[in-house]
């Protein structure tokens, strides 16, 4: 086993308070015992990674580098890899997709197998994997989005989830048929102030000819070129200091040609002395918001605004044209006056002097909700004893990606977390990325997070010799070869990395005919059709 740096058990690196000393000492002692039971390293250490987005690939990259005999089988629902790098990153951010170059490098390893077009928990039950692997790593992300729970949200026209809209313009088969109506009127409202909301705003406000040079789906270009939307409001329930967008995305919108920005009312921004005392990132963001855009509203063709302290209550349709959305009613909020400028400040409903709650109507013909993604349990997790935290949308873990269960369960080994709570680990089961820590952060965040999970696996291999998921006498060590026959019987038609390369070439070819880097296949049948 070659680990690049001397290994210090991650669980032992947590800052040891006095009260934890006995625990940590006993942990070291237990490690010493385990290390003496050494282990064969000649047989492959078989890892199944569920999901082929940045979390799965960065974990595979680190694991292949740290565990010499690791062999990774990466399972993906779609015939093609890369998850949100391909289907979530905005088409006008090609540089962010450069991480795919690294993933392609990883996939060139003979110790890496891509198994696409396999829906684990769907066509292929998860439990079929267990006997054939030494570890299973869940990195399947957050497949749904949060709802607002307001009246009218389920309308079939004019009301969209930002997640679906992003999937649609990025060529994701699941949302190929969303067909959003962008011709209903001039006003669009986006609820939520994260980077997904700003991506949607930028796509709606951008010059279509600029988007033509990207890999945005052709059908989306067509819909966007007939869009009537020229006014986008990005609405949040809290204030500027509590918004979750990042500065790069704001700056891009402020610099869009021929698009003006409504100045943010001064009283919503903190006073200068508060601004200068803010942490650097927040300070720069507030300064940028205060500066606004240089574009002249009188010559701009489109405009946008950030609207704060508003919670949507209901959607209202036109009395004359009942299919036409006319406006959204909002309740006004106010920030906790004791602490209005902290990032975690709470809001409460605002009341008028009459004692009535303050409301406001905002015109809207097209409506997007963008209040965050949501993790879901993969069907069949329970067969492996893996719990799911529904409220947080994550698989419970020890912070390093080892799946944990409450200590009352029989399975796993007991451990004490820094907060004093008892947990048990489920050996051989791990998670990384959004299903581990929730759907936030940029690719760099997921990279760090996936590395920490891979490091935890490497540490556990070093400690146990690799018989993690199954006892030595029960593991087949076959990986995909052990699963394949049953999968084929169930009707699975898996795609390989070479298949993806063929699809990739065909997509680039389609793109070059349109002077674009790529034209994705919007349907799974089309992808499989080139094989």
């Amino acid at each position: 086993m070659s680990l690049r740096t001397p290994y210090v058990c991650a669980r032992c690196t947590v800052r040891a308070s006095r009260s934890l000393r006995p625990v940590i000492l006993s942990h070291f002692r237990s490690q010493r015992r385990n290390v003496s039971q050494t282990v064969q390293t000649d047989r492959p250490f078989r890892v199944a990674i569920v999901g082929s987005g940045p979390a799965g690939f960065y974990a595979a990259y680190r694991l292949l580098g740290k565990v010499e005999n690791a062999v990774v089988d990466m399972y993906e629902k779609l015939p093609v890899p890369f998850g949100l790098a391909r289907y979530g990153v905005a088409p006008d951010h090609p540089e962010v997709k450069n991480c795919e170059d690294k993933f392609t490098e990883v996939a060139a390893s003979p110790r890496f197998n891509f198994i696409g077009n396999v829906e684990l928990g769907g066509t292929l039950p998860l439990r079929l994997l267990k006997p054939h692997y030494d570890a299973i790593l869940f990195a399947y992300g957050a497949p749904k989005d949060k709802r607002l729970g307001i009246q009218g949200e389920d309308a079939l026209r004019s009301v969209y989830s930002a997640r679906e809209f992003v999937g649609w313009y990025n060529g994701l088969p699941e949302h190929r048929d969303l067909n959003p109506d962008l011709t209903a009127g001039e006003d669009a409202v986006i609820i939520g102030q994260g980077n997904v909301a700003l991506d949607v705003a930028r796509i709606l406000l951008s010059d279509v000819d600029r988007l033509r040079q990207t890999d945005i789906a052709d059908y989306a270009l067509e819909a966007l070129s007939s869009s009537k939307i020229n006014r986008v409001r990005v609405v949040g329930r809290r204030g500027p200091l509590q918004a979750s967008f990042t500065i790069k995305e704001v700056r891009e919108l402020l610099q869009l040609p021929s698009v003006s920005f409504d100045p943010i009312p001064r009283d919503l921004l903190p006073p200068d002395d508060v601004v200068s005392a803010l942490p650097r990132a927040q300070k720069r963001l507030i300064q940028l918001l205060a500066k606004g855009s240089n574009n002249d509203p009188s010559t701009a063709t489109k405009s946008w605004s950030l609207d704060f302290l508003l919670s949507p209550e209901c959607l209202n349709w036109s009395p004359v044209f009942p299919h036409r959305l006319s406006h959204v009613r909002f309740a006004r909020n106010e920030l906790d006056p004791a602490d209005p400028f902290s990032a975690s400040a709470k809001v409460t409903p605002k009341y008028l002097s009459s004692g009535k709650p303050a409301k406001v109507n905002i015109p809207a013909n097209t409506f997007f909700r963008s209040v965050g993604y949501k993790g879901l349990p993969l069907p069949g997790l329970e067969d492996l004893g893996v719990p799911f935290d529904e409220s947080r949308g994550v698989i419970p873990n020890d912070g390093f990606g080892r799946v944990t269960v409450p200590p009352s369960s029989e399975a796993g080994s007991r451990d004490i977390l820094p907060d004093g709570s008892l947990i048990s680990h489920l050996p051989g089961l791990y998670c990384a990325g959004w299903v581990k820590r929730g759907p936030t952060g940029v690719i760099a965040t997921t990279m760090t997070d996936a590395f920490s999970t891979a490091d935890a696996i490497a540490a556990d291999v070093a400690q146990s010799g690799g018989a993690l998921l199954n006892p030595s006498n029960e593991r087949t060590g076959l990986g995909w070869d052990g699963v394949r026959a049953e999968a084929e019987r169930l009707g699975v038609r898996a795609t390989s990395w070479e298949d993806w390369e063929r699809i990739d070439r065909a997509e680039r070819e389609r793109g070059s005919q349109r002077n674009k880097p790529r034209e994705k296949f919007g349907r799974v049948e089309q992808m499989l059709g080139v094989l």
Binding site: H93, N98, C99, A108, D419, V442, R505
Partner: protein, 161 residues
């Protein structure tokens, strides 16, 4: 006379899996070559040192115009360039050890600062490696690779509301 390196530059080392394996195929979509640097001409070497995450110091002699990300990757230091060196992520974050050296450098652009705002362990002398081009003025510069890991906090285990 060039300063003698305390530790000579390691030869380009491949990731472990590349050392043990022969890649089965060259992908048609092989990405851009990272870590491309020009060997310095005799007499025009510029000295730069990296302190890695384990506190080890590595000294290199490089050419004018090479950037810190390429230098680190060409010498197999643990530095990722997720966006391929296009100033669109924060994975090549470095910390300039000497504040006076930092002041000698060109001001980071707004775009670079926007990315640095998202970096782990940001400091007053942080830069993105891909944006720092070596020049004679920066001869002798020492940069530190920040630790990407963070300590676990009790709050990591509490349900977020």
């Amino acid at each position: 006379m060039p300063v003698t390196a305390r530790k000579t530059a390691r030869p380009r080392k491949q990731p472990v899996w590349k050392q043990v394996d022969t890649p089965r195929s060259l992908s048609a979509t092989t990405g851009m070559q990272h870590g491309h640097i020009t060997p310095p001409k005799p007499g025009e070497e510029i000295n730069v040192s990296f302190i890695d995450k384990d506190g080890e110091k590595w000294d290199f002699q490089v050419s004018e115009g090479d950037n810190l990300l390429d230098i680190a990757q060409a010498n197999d230091l643990e530095m990722e360039g997720a966006c391929g060196g296009s100033c669109a992520c924060s994975t090549c974050h470095v910390i300039v050890e000497d504040p006076d050296m930092f002041d000698k450098m060109e001001e980071p652009s707004d775009d670079e600062n926007d990315m640095l705002d998202l970096a782990f362990g940001l400091t007053e002398t942080s830069r993105l490696g891909c944006q720092v081009l070596m020049s004679k003025e920066l001869d002798g510069m020492v940069v530190r690779l920040p630790s990407m890991t963070r300590n676990l906090q009790a709050s990591d285990f509490q349900a977020k509301k």
